[in-house]
Amino acid sequence: MKSFTYERVHTPAEAAAAAARMPGSKFLAGGTNLLDLMKLQIETPVHLIDIGKLELNKIEHTLTGGLRIGALLSNTDLAADLSVRRDYQILARALLAGASGQLRNKATTAGNLLQRTRCPYFYDTNQPCNKRVPGSGCAAITGFSRQLAVIGSSNACIATHPSDMAVAMMALDAVIETINPKGKVRLIPIADFYRLPGKTPHIETVLEKNELITSVVLPPPSGGMHFYHKVRDRSSYAFALVSVGAILHKDGSGQIAVGGVAAKPWRNKSIEKVVPLGAKAFTEKLFAKARPTQENAFKIQLVERALEGILKEGRS
């Protein structure tokens, strides 16, 4: 860990302003990812802005019947919320499939969206990694890639996004609300929030410098049956090999997002009309542009099988 300075802020605008004032600073919320990365010197902020005391830990109904989730609400509280459990079960299930009880107590909504990849080469500072040190190369592409991306990857990076929560948010068409140092509020649909690696895998979202997430807004409940199947080698406390979040509607249509396959939760709304044709047809279309490695090609079939199980359960 490198030495850093620290301050605590009290309003979102103050937070964004503090960040603008201190180049090289980072926001600190639950710290479950950032502090680990700082200890390994993968993240080396010179200044931490502790936003933990901001009044952003509430969950409220919006005027249109949706839900506004504070950026700092803990994953535990979000998963336990009555409205979430009733109307957005996919979200509650995804949250509970992630991490451990202790981590969920600390982890926040915004922090979960912004957590960084678990690619082992990203974590080992002796190894080249374009995400950690731009331009240093990627050891993962020719290395151990079983856990890594099968689609949307580039020659610079094949890391995946590790979040379960974000997969559910993607299926739910969540909108991310931010504020910048000038106090300007911005709404970013989650489908536009994450960037694919391309040549700049170190830039992971469309957030501007010093822009702060204040809340995540869910649209009104869409009904349907909600599923979240996270597939992994052990039963708990592991990142997904793949995860499939699905909301199935009576008319046969569905909202389907997939985790563990790309640098962002993977969803293609334009093909969701083929859901009624079955898991195989849908998966083929979803992964038409996949570029898996030899080690992780199985993930595509695994998504298909997981989805098939979900569709079977949905129909029965």
């Binding site: 974590y123 050891a139 290395g143 052990r234 708990s236 990142f239 695994l302 098939e308 199980g309």
Partner: protein, 736 residues
């Protein structure tokens, strides 16, 4: 005391304290967080500094230069030790790895430097400022590609002969009615114990004391003295509690050497705990194997030929993973062939991990037996029982001291409702789960070795035991206490157990499943001497004196025990040594593992649903801690079967998944109800305690039983561990 003929009736047969499922006497310390581990001895080390090890950034090569400029000037830095200023260092006698690299780098994360600073954070931060320039050399990292370069290794100190043949294997196999010839692989595995390797080292003049986490303190003293080039007498090691070891803390590794060197350089005590991501490459691991097994039988299933070859890799001179060991004596068969071969690899050192040899070997052999039973259309339990033997098939006149393998299998089958296992694969279904059952035998040697102890009886009637035995969470404290209590005729509450200090009499240490039987036998020997002294003090004939209920009886007279203490205390010390019984008899532990699994027909996720182990391991000294050992081992077996895999990056030469996020071991949710049955027995050829080890037996065979259950559930035979989703996917039909 020398043990050279089978034990007759002796005080341990009272079984008033021994054999009882007593709670651990160190339990309250553990559950209240007051049991002190190596890293926590701050009191005797006031003013200590912190050390942080820098691991090599390359897999093979050499250090060209080390630039210490920035690191030296970093806040709080007290000393930096590298090969340039460490002075000459030798190797220990057990591990072959050099514990400080330079100028050559032998493997990834080999220690290159230790940074000593006022705080841990300062040491860690300065470590990142050390600039080491390397020349990378081409290394040997791809075991499978190097298999053909393997040679037959020299016989090691602990393994079987690397090559042996009984009868005419090839001839018998060629002419067998039914044959199997299959190859299986097991991956590199890490011990992944909870407590990292840790040491606080303190020099007082030329005397060195280390609070450390080492299973064999006698080896530790020997090896640390060797490495540093100082007399053994100047080294004292203290390991009162160990947070798991599994063979990975046998003796001296980088933490203790770095702490000793750092403390010398800084002139202050230094503490080091290996950072978790360093452990996997820096320390030792269970080596990967490729195993070819050939079995030939008559039509009725009688084995006529059995051959087991195993290939593994290691640093030059490193020990072989003796995976063929169990095949030497588990099943009958007149014609037998075993062969180990070893390749040179530039990865961290392969070494002992819980049941070295047997664990890996049985992962293969017991799938082969399952495959063979299927070819014969026999029940796998019946096939194993048919080929049971009461004589060592490699040395035909040598009988097993005790061997209830067949009973383990048949009793387990009954208890597990084995008769519900579907004969045809892939036919039992519950919703989306395919259900299957699997079985495997278990065998593990029962080595026993010399062990000494001292016992003191004071005026209050308190018995204190001192021996340098260790407790890795295994329960040594308690069974040693039970032994002394039984021998002196008192309750466990009258016994104080002091272990884990090399200044105490030299014990067996913990390893190879020999600790329980050996260390308690040493306590037995010392207690026999104490009994004699007590009897004499009371004017009794030692031969005609009995100890029970806190009293000493002879004829019609009896005294309370403490009455024997006329001055301060009575002290007795002895060592148990062994004659030739282990040559006369084949001494092993046996067992059977039964497992039921469910496999998700869609995603191929595997979930273990039930587990049963039946164990035959001589007298069980404490059924509660023995059961804990076995269920822990069964859990480890689930890891070996389904997830544990140290993945080698063959380009860069290192184990990639080198932390506990990447190297998965079972979590609670992976482990179902586990049942353990101990067959009631004693083995008088072992020692007066009539006991054997059990901590490793519980692991041997578990993974194969799971593999066989997966096959029974799905019809997919996976011969490459771990059995993960990707190896089943696409092979299971959803309408199955």
């Amino acid at each position: 005391m020398k043990f050279d003929k089978p034990a007759g009736k002796n005080p341990t047969d009272q079984m008033k304290v021994i054999g009882k499922p007593l709670d651990r006497i160190d339990g309250p310390l553990k559950t209240t967080g007051t049991a002190k581990y190596a890293y926590e001895y701050n009191e005797p080390n006031k003013g200590h500094a912190y050390g942080y090890i820098v691991g090599a950034a390359i897999g093979k090569g050499r250090i060209d230069s080390i630039n210490q400029y920035a690191a030296k000037r970093a806040p709080g830095v007290l000393a930096i030790v590298t090969y340039e200023n460490a002075g000459p260092l030798q190797k220990g006698m057990f591990y072959v790895d050099r514990l400080l690299a330079g100028p050559e780098i032998d493997h990834y994360h080999q220690a290159v430097a230790v940074i000593v600073a006022e705080t841990f954070e300062q040491a860690r931060s300065a470590a990142a400022l050390l600039k080491v320039n390397y020349t990378r050399l081409k290394g040997s990292f791809d075991f499978k590609a190097l298999k053909d370069s393997s040679i037959t290794p020299k016989r090691g100190a602990y393994g079987p002969a690397p090559q042996s043949e009984v009868g005419n294997f090839k001839g018998a196999f060629d002419t067998a009615d039914v044959k199997l010839d299959q190859t299986y692989t097991t991956p590199d595995q890490s011990h992944a114990m909870m407590e990292p390797h840790a040491t606080i080292a303190r020099w007082d003049g030329d005397k060195l004391t280390c609070w450390c986490s080492i299973q064999q303190l006698n080896w530790g003293v020997r090896d640390l003295a060797n490495v540093l080039g100082i007399p053994k007498e100047n080294v004292r090691l203290i390991s009162r509690f160990i947070g798991g070891g599994f063979g990975g803390k046998g003796t001296v590794l980088s933490d203790i050497v770095a702490a000793s060197l750092g403390a010398r350089a800084a002139g202050r005590p230094v503490k080091i705990a290996l950072q978790r991501p360093l452990i996997f490459n820096n320390t030792t691991h269970r080596p990967a194997t490729i195993q070819r097994i050939r079995i030939g039988t008559k039509k009725d299933g009688t084995i006529t030929a059995i051959g087991h070859e195993s290939w593994s890799g290691n640093l030059p001179g490193g020990m072989s993973e003796s995976a063929t060991a169990p095949t030497s004596s588990l099943y009958a068969g007149a014609n037998r062939m075993l062969h180990l071969r070893q390749a040179v690899l530039d990865l961290g050192e392969g070494n002992a991990m819980r049941a070295p040899g047997e664990a890996s070997g049985m992962m293969a052999l017991e799938i082969a037996m399952d495959e063979m039973a299927e070819k014969l259309k026999m029940d796998p339990v019946a096939f194993r029982i048919l080929n049971d033997t009461q004589v060592d098939p490699a040395e035909n006149k040598r009988r097993f001291s005790t061997r209830l393998l067949a009973k383990c299998l048949s009793e387990g089958a009954e208890k597990f409702n084995w008769n519900r296992r579907p004969d045809s694969v892939g036919t039992m279904k519950e919703g989306k789960w395919l259900i299957g059952m699997g079985v495997a035998s278990a065998v593990r040697g029962a080595p026993i070795t010399k062990s000494a102890a001292r016992v003191r009886l004071n005026k209050d009637g308190i018995v204190t035991v001192e021996t340098d035995m260790t407790d890795l969470g295994t329960g040594s404290y308690t069974i040693i206490g039970q032994t002394a209590a039984e021998m002196m005729g008192v309750g466990i509450e009258k016994v104080i157990v002091k272990i884990g200090d090399s200044s105490f009499p030299e014990s067996s240490g913990s390893g190879g499943q020999w600790g329980a039987a050996s260390s308690t036998s040493g306590v037995y020997a010392a207690c026999i001497k104490l009994r004699e002294a007590v009897a004499r003090s009371l004017g009794f004939d030692p031969e005609k004196t009995e100890f029970s209920d806190g009293k000493v009886h002879s004829g019609s007279r009896s005294f309370v025990l403490r009455a024997a203490v006329k001055t301060e205390e009575i002290v007795a010390e002895d060592e148990m040594t062994y004659g030739e019984l282990s040559k006369q008899y084949a001494q092993d532990t046996f067992g059977a593992h039964f497992v039921e699994v469910g496999v998700n027909v869609y995603t191929c996720e595997i979930r273990v649903r039930r587990m049963l182990a039946v164990c035959h391991a001589g007298r069980i000294l404490n059924p509660k801690s023995a059961r804990s050992q076995v269920i822990g081992a069964m859990t480890m077996g689930v890891g070996a079967a389904l997830m544990e895999d140290l993945v080698v990056d063959k380009n860069r030469g290192f184990f990639v998944n080198h932390d506990l996020a990447g190297y998965e071991v079972p979590v609670h949710a992976d482990i179902p109800y586990q049942e353990v049955i101990m067959l009631d027995d004693v083995d008088p050829t072992m020692s007066p305690m009539k006991a054997k080890g059990i901590g490793e037996l519980g692991l041997v065979g578990v993974a194969a039983a799971i593999a066989n259950a997966v096959y029974n559930a799905t019809g997919v035979r996976v011969r490459e561990y771990p059995i993960t989703i990707d190896k089943l996917l696409g092979k299971i039909k959803i309408d199955a």
